[in-house]
Assembly symmetry: C2
Homo-oligomer: 239 residues x 2
DNA sequence: ATGGTGCTAACTGTCAACAATTGACAGCGA
DNA sequence: TCGCTGTCAATTGTTGACAGTTAGCACCAT
């Protein structure tokens, strides 16, 4: 009986496809591979020491997840959202997190609430220290925590996927929200409603909180986080 | 200059993977392949006259879409939602369609509204004729129409994917909603708010409309649309 | 110069064969 | 009878080779 090692699952017998998938996903999410980067199959294959089969399968999955954009017979690149796509995603995010908040509030334990407060306090500190990087990391955990607390697994997965697709743009766009302080305040207001057990109000506040950068993005093309070039062209991307 | 044929895209030069993907997706969505059905790679390959490569890639994509469940060295089956997963999906659907309605209302043209009314009337007729099949088809188009009218492409895709996963269960569960008449009435109430240009109210009504079967599903395990057997087991399903 | 044309190299799409794993079953022993 | 063990057929995982397509470039004609 050589029991399971300190691993999560039975015996850590990962398929090559799974390893490649995991690797590439991490590379993209961490922005080591930036949007628009070309993903050459043979280059990846030799680089990772596997054949093209597992690479292709992993790329296909990532395409279905939206992290990669495949154009048949041309190749794959790291997905680059247009401004419109980013706005669309933001809108969906608002709905998902609002739902999550509404569902999560009555389910939160005291420990959950305590942790949320801790994160909120940390964010406040980061805002005052003007440490944007740390702020965003905690911010992400704060939102993730609420979504997870909803107990809705599908919701959690969709949310994770959506935020993954939005990537770095999330941080860049959030910076024109009116400063970290305003954002920290929004979280505090949300937590107030959460503590009061007012799920509906918390959900509403969350929706408004997320809605802010949307409005900023909508009107002024001042920010060129996007380099729209060809509004034409047919791509696969998923379906 | 042999121009593009009456095709939608450049020259209709579909990849085998795409053809297989399309075929399998259709088979699943139409329930010709029912949940739990095993998807043997060699069987599919010989059946479709291609090698296993494209089959595997298509199955991988379908797994990422949630239509197929792959367990790493075991094989693929058509995804079978548990009761909890179905309830979760229903909850997400509520949020998505509520958002879609809120966004769509101010964007609707007169033609859009006319078509919605037409569908609503048709549903009313089907309800009175007790034609559930036709009712559900129109119902689906009604909801799709609203989501499409939101102009949010990501929202549309997620919605389509979600409803695809829910599959036949949607119809079965909707039948214990209180009859087709009640459902038709709900659509009529929504359209009232739509006509009045009251997006917020329409969104709220839509949320309530979708919420109904959720409550029915939640409490009584009376309906055994699901055959839960092993609440354990580790599966891949997507991530 | 300039616009079109035909090569060419690089890349993706597909296939068939090989390797590894799994689940089932027969057979053995208690 | 029951449980264990070893073998086997079936199925998935992976590979390397081949075929087809694409994009870029040099070249030629105008």
């Amino acid at each position: 009986m050589t029991g399971t090692p300190p691993d999560g699952r039975p015996v850590r017998n990962l398929t090559l496809r799974e390893q490649v998938l995991q690797h590439l996903r991490e590379e993209i999410l961490s922005s080591r591979l930036e949007p628009g980067a070309e993903l050459n199959e043979v280059a990846l294959a030799t680089s990772l020491g596997v054949s093209r089969g597992p690479i292709r399968e992993a790329l296909g999955r990532l395409a279905a997840e939206g992290l990669v954009t495949i154009t048949p017979r041309r190749g794959a690149i790291v997905t680059k959202l247009t401004k419109q796509e980013f706005i669309d995603a933001y809108q969906v995010r608002e709905a998902l997190e609002s739902l999550a908040t509404r569902v999560a509030v009555p389910r939160l334990t005291d420990e959950d609430r305590a942790e949320l407060h801790r994160m909120s306090d940390d964010m406040r500190r980061c805002a005052e220290a003007d440490d944007a990087t740390a702020f965003f990391e905690i911010n992400r955990r704060f939102h993730d925590k609420l979504v997870a607390a909803s107990g809705n697994r599908r919701l959690f997965e969709l949310h994770e996927q959506l935020l993954g697709q939005m990537g770095r743009l999330l941080q860049k766009s959030a910076q024109l929200r009116g400063g970290l302080g305003e954002s920290a305040a929004a979280h505090e207001r949300i937590l107030e409603a959460v503590d009061a057990g007012d799920a509906e109000r918390a959900a509403q506040l969350m929706a408004e909180h997320i809605e802010v950068p949307q409005r900023v993005l909508d009107a002024p093309e001042a920010l060129d986080l996007f380099d729209e070039a060809d509004p034409s062209s047919e791509i696969e991307k998923a379906s």
